[in-house]
Structures are given as structure tokens and as C-alpha cells.
């Protein structure tokens, strides 16, 4: 469907801000980060999301939630979008939106899946596929604040080519003290990896997470099936359910 991101007659109302695309970065073959400029953006917390809304010429509207993948930089926010085949919104965001185009943004949204820098508890981040986006916002916010809170990330991807923010993650691990990153490959392992391709299991979470006695905060984000599996594992390992924060974005591939 041909679609203009925003008809000129729309003004800010009911919490929708008019934003402009100012930059875009390829993350993988199927995902990219959109840098949006939102006048008067009030700032956000790491882990929060925004709703993006498109309006067609006939007035039809479609909105979807996307995690913000970086701390606020003045009026600039970054959202990382995975292309959903046959999706209504993501193909347009990735291929149809040009630099300078306008789009409506509602946010910042959600106070639950949020890392608060004042919380001294160690943090385990478990991301599946594009579920890395809000976790990356936390890693970047920790870096920006010079926080010493120990962080561990377990990142499940199909192959090495599907890693978002790959270069930056390598750099963060070298430079940011107290950040460890472990990868789980579900389809194809890199040549040097001793492990077989597998879905995340108890051994991965047990080896690369924190013991429950340390009372860590566990953030799990990914496709619904992935999140259910990882939160079941965390509960089985003895983590209190209230210390397991989850964000599900639908069936695999969504």
C-alpha cells in the first residue's frame, strides 16, 4: 500500500509527537536503526519503548511498539526495527521512510521493563534476536553513566550475521569494566566456536547468568516462545519471579 507517513493536517494531540527521520544505520540484513528527531522530547529510561504510527492517504492508521535502543541524546532517539515479512509497518519503516520524512511517535512508554541506575543489584540481560534492542539501551546507559553495576548479557541469535550492534558489543566488552557477553547460536555456530548450534537452555543461563543468592535483576526480551523458555529456566534455577522482568514481542519472526 502506498503510504505517506503523516498527512500535513495532523498536529500533536493525545500524546503523539511529530518526529523526523534524520539518520538510519543498517544493523543486519533485515534490521536497521532509525534515528528520529522529536522536538521537545522529554527523555526516557533505558528499556522504555515508543509507539510509531503511520497514516495512509485514506486516513487508515497502523501503530506498532518499538524499543528505544539508545539513551536519549537531546531531541534524538534511536529505535531498532526488525523487518517482519508481510508486516504492515516494519517494511515501510525500513524501506519506505526517507531521511527528512515525518512520522508520529508516542512515548516514552512503559515503566516496568526499565533498568534504574539507582538499583545496585547485578543485572542479567537475556536477548533473543531483535530482543537485544532495549537491552542495548541499558548497556549504553550504564556506559554513559559510568555505572559499576555488574552486567551480563546472554544473546541468542540464529547465526553470527544476525548479531545486532556486533562491533559495538565487542568494544563494550573490552572497554566497559564489569560487562560480560555470551552468545548462543541457534542455527549455525561461528567456525571457532566449540559449541553446537542449540536453543538456549538451563546450562547457558546457569553458566552465564548470576546465582539467585545474589538477587540479580533479570531482563528477558525476545519472541514470546523464547521469553517463556528463559523465564521458566530462571524460575527453575531459583530466581524470584518478581526479579524476572520480561518483554515479549510476539511469535518467532514477528
Amino acid at each position: 500500500m502506498a503510504r505517506t507517513a503523516i498527512p500535513g493536517r495532523l498536529t500533536k494531540r493525545a500524546g503523539w509527537w511529530v518526529a523526523r527521520l534524520v539518520d538510519r544505520r543498517e544493523e543486519t540484513a533485515t534490521a536497521c536503526t532509525l534515528v528520529l528527531e522529536v522536538p521537545d522530547w522529554p527523555g526516557h529510561l533505558p528499556g522504555q519503548h515508543v509507539d510509531l504510527r503511520l497514516t495512509a492517504e485514506d486516513g487508515y492508521q497502523a501503530a506498532r511498539s518499538y524499543s528505544v535502543s539508545a539513551p536519549a541524546d537531546g531531541e534524538r532517539i534511536e529505535v531498532t526495527v526488525q523487518r517482519v515479512p508481510d508486516g504492515e509497518v516494519s517494511p515501510y519503516l525500513i524501506e519506505g521512510l526517507s531521511i527528512g520524512d515525518q512520522i508520529e511517535v508516542k512515548g516514552p512508554l512503559g515503566g516496568y521493563f526499565v533498568w534504574r541506575m539507582t538499583d545496585p543489584a547485578p543485572v542479567l540481560l537475556v536477548g533473543g534476536g531483535s530482543g537485544i534492542a532495549p537491552l542495548m539501551a541499558m548497556i549504553r546507559a550504564r556506559r554513559a553513566a559510568g555505572s559499576r553495576v555488574p552486567f551480563r548479557l546472554i544473546y541468542s541469535v540464529r547465526t553470527e550475521r544476525d548479531i545486532y550492534f556486533a562491533d559495538e558489543l565487542r568494544r563494550r566488552v573490552r572497554e566497559d569494566q564489569g560487562l560480560d557477553v555470551a552468545y548462543v547460536y541457534t542455527r549455525e555456530v561461528p567456525e571457532i566456536s566449540p559449541a553446537q548450534a542449540h536453543r538456549i537452555g538451563v546450562a547457558d543461563v546457569n553458566s552465564h547468568g548470576w546465582p539467585p543468592q545474589l538477587e540479580p535483576t533479570n531482563f528477558v526480551c525476545g519472541p514470546t516462545g523464547f521469553v517463556e523458555a528463559v523465564s521458566d529456566i530462571l524460575v527453575a534455577l531459583g530466581h524470584e519471579p518478581r526479579r524476572i522482568k520480561t518483554e515479549r514481542f510476539g511469535p518467532t519472526g514477528a
Binding site: L109, Y112, E247, T252
Partner: protein, 108 residues
Amino acid sequence: MTEQLHPEQPRMDYVDGNMLAGPLQEVFAVDLTTATGRCASCGQTGPVAALRVYSNAPGVVARCPSCTEVMLRLVRTPDSAWLDLRGSTFLQIPMPAESFTTPGPVAM
């Protein structure tokens, strides 16, 4: 490559209560996704953010993650919002202490 779901796998076509933040922000002054809700059907309490949300229905339907009964329904029409909470016994909403004031009797 397409993912094939095994027939015996449970339905995974839901997201969670985090996505309610946007639609509910239109109606409420506070973020309801951090609220704790009690299921009227099974009595389980937990964060609204952890409800199972099905948004492929007209509007959004949020179900208890424990017993899967409907706890919240929100339908937006062009001129109103319909909020059905009959499946929730209560919502406990975190509030900062300083905003707690009970209006006293009017001094005459």
C-alpha cells in the same frame, strides 16, 4: 527460511502487557503497566506488564498469564474508549508518597 510451529506447541501469538502502556496512556494519567492486578478468576496477582496481550482481536485483550482468563479489554472507537475490567478484582497502582493528600472538610 520459515519457522514451523509444532502442532503440540501452545499458542505463542501474544505479546505482553508492556504494549498496553501506549493505548492506556490515552485514558490514564499514570503508567498502568507497573500496576499490580489481581485476576478475578484465579486470584493470581502480578504486574499488568506481564499479562498476555492479544492485539489481533478488535481492540486489545489482556489475559491472566496463570489461568488465561480475560482481565482487561480496551477498544478504541473514533469517539470513545471502552475499558472492560470485570476480570480484575483490583489494580494496585504505585504512587509517590508526596502526592497523597486526603481532602479534609471544607473550612467555613
